[in-house]
């Protein structure tokens, strides 16, 4: 499967010369450059938001051989940004749907599909034989595996990533003197600190912008023209419409590309990445304990972080209401000399509130386990439950 056919004749046919005529006339490309594109083997890992424009433009531009790695199927939530696919592709294999679309677009193209998830075991074999790898994946595990495999194989990695309204694009290529992904980001965020597009959202045109920039870098690398995006991290802010070039350099101590890099180190992230304590621990107390404290005349300051409509339904007597969203802005109105007990419906928002107040420097903050609901169930049955 990975023995890539190198039997496509690089010489352009009359039809190909007409098809690519508008870019063939460019001095920087010309027939020589077009033949390089025709001979090129490019592996695109991920055929989603970024992969869609990368594949569409590389196929149109006359790349001779495209490999597509994607294990996923097309979901309706993909369609606002994954422009390779339409309603007819729902529930179908992304790799195979993409291959069919691309071959309809350009019959000169050869496509290899790999319907698997790239990992430490298969990465080196997957990328072998390709001239350029495009990282269009959507998770850190894949990004570190791709980086490590590309560094070891000496293949340039044309990388982009997106979130909400922000994009980053770079060509990682230590073989040409530039840094690798790990030189810039030595480790991924701990779980909980990195929202995915599914949680955080992404504006649909953003991968279109970042992916076409990746396709442009691929063409430049193959034709050996211009200044590749090596040693630079390009960031794009879609809300401000602002591009920035950041200067990035090799890290001599990099575990992937540094002088002392272990050639036998397993690719990608270690199985057990150290779990980082991202969430400030907070105390929780039960409704029984709160009832006892009230009976003894030593209640904490009761802070209800639900919205007004919820407080209207049921609330613990004597509690003050500040909705969670407004907590940081109104924190100055809270006492610093008294323990604060945060309360919500069932105990989730109150945990967040207690954590936020602790981070703001309040001491003795706790969260009521089970919230008003537990209070109504076990202490005060006269309260409505919802």
């Amino acid at each position: 499967m990975n023995k890539i056919a190198r039997d496509i004749s690089p010489a352009l046919t009359a039809e190909e010369t007409r098809r690519y005529g508008r870019q063939l006339v460019l001095d920087q490309i010309g027939p020589d450059g077009q033949e390089k594109l025709k001979s090129a083997h490019v592996l695109v890992i991920g055929s989603g938001g970024l992969g869609s424009p990368v594949l569409l433009y590389l196929a149109a531009a006359g790349i001779g051989h495209l490999g597509i790695v994607d294990f996923d199927i097309v979901d309706i939530t993909n369609l606002h940004r994954q422009v390779l696919f339409g309603d007819a592709d729902l529930d179908c294999s992304k790799a195979r749907s993409a291959a069919a679309r691309l071959q309809a677009q350009n019959p000169h193209l050869a496509v290899t599909t790999h319907e698997i998830r790239i990992d430490a075991e298969n990465a080196e074999e997957l990328i072998s034989g390709y001239d350029v790898v495009v990282d269009a994946t959507d998770n850190f595990a894949a990004r570190y595996v791709i980086n490590d495999a590309c560094v070891r194989a000496g293949i340039p990695n044309v990388s982009a990533s997106i979130l909400r309204f922000d994009a980053q694009i770079a060509v990682f290529d230590p073989a040409r003197g530039g840094p690798c992904y790990r030189c810039v980001f030595p480790a991924p965020p701990p779980a909980g600190l990195a929202p995915s597009c599914a949680e955080a959202g992404v504006v649909g045109v953003l991968p279109g912008i970042a992916g076409t920039l990746q396709a442009n870098e691929v063409i430049k690398l193959i034709c050996e023209i211009g200044t590749p995006l090596i040693g630079r991290l390009l960031s794009f802010d879609a809300l401000e419409t602002r591009f920035r070039n950041f200067e990035i350099a090799r890290n001599p101590g990099c575990v992937a590309c540094g002088a002392k890099a272990d050639p036998n180190r397993p690719l990608g992230l270690a199985e057990a990445e150290p779990a980082c304590a991202f969430e400030t621990p907070v105390a929780e107390i039960s409704v029984e304990k709160l009832a006892a404290a009230i009976a003894e005349g030593t209640p904490p300051f009761l802070l209800d972080v639900r919205g007004a409509a919820e407080r209207e339904i049921a609330r613990i007597a004597g509690s003050k209401g500040i909705a969670l969203d407004l907590l940081e802005a109104e924190a100055d109105s809270l006492p610093r000399d008294q323990p604060i007990l945060c309360i919500c419906h069932k105990g989730a928002r109150s945990l967040k509130a207690a954590r936020a107040l602790t981070e703001l420097g309040f001491t003795g903050v706790a969260s009521l386990t089970g919230g008003v609901d537990a209070w109504a169930e076990r202490i005060d049955p006269s309260l409505k439950r919802y």
């Binding site: 990533s161 997106i162 810039v184 480790a187 990195a194 955080a200 980082c276 969430e279 936020a356």
Partner: protein, 92 residues
């Protein structure tokens, strides 16, 4: 003298929505980082590890040039310097 720390979109909610934080009289990067966290304590757990160093997934740039963690103690900041924090993102 004054320096500016630029925050990424993902960290702004923990800094009262500010995209840029201007700080006065900071000679070193570590002092500037301490002041940033003192002003916005909720940034702390999202920006620095338990041992007080910037997380590896946040790249630090001074005037658009990356500086590695080894260099942090030696970085001196002058009037008008811009420190930009760029976190790794994985979306695709």
């Amino acid at each position: 003298m004054s320096i500016v720390i630029e925050l990424p979109t993902t960290l702004r909610p923990f800094a009262s929505g500010e995209a840029q934080v201007a700080l006065n009289d900071h000679a070193s990067f570590n002092e500037a980082l301490d002041s940033l966290i003192a002003r916005h304590p909720r940034l702390k757990s999202r920006l620095v590890t338990g041992s007080g160093t910037v997380y590896d997934f946040v790249s630090v740039f001074v005037n658009d040039r990356r500086v590695g963690p080894d260099e942090f103690p030696e970085i001196t900041l002058g009037d008008g310097d811009v420190v930009t924090l760029v976190p790794a993102m994985a979306g695709g």
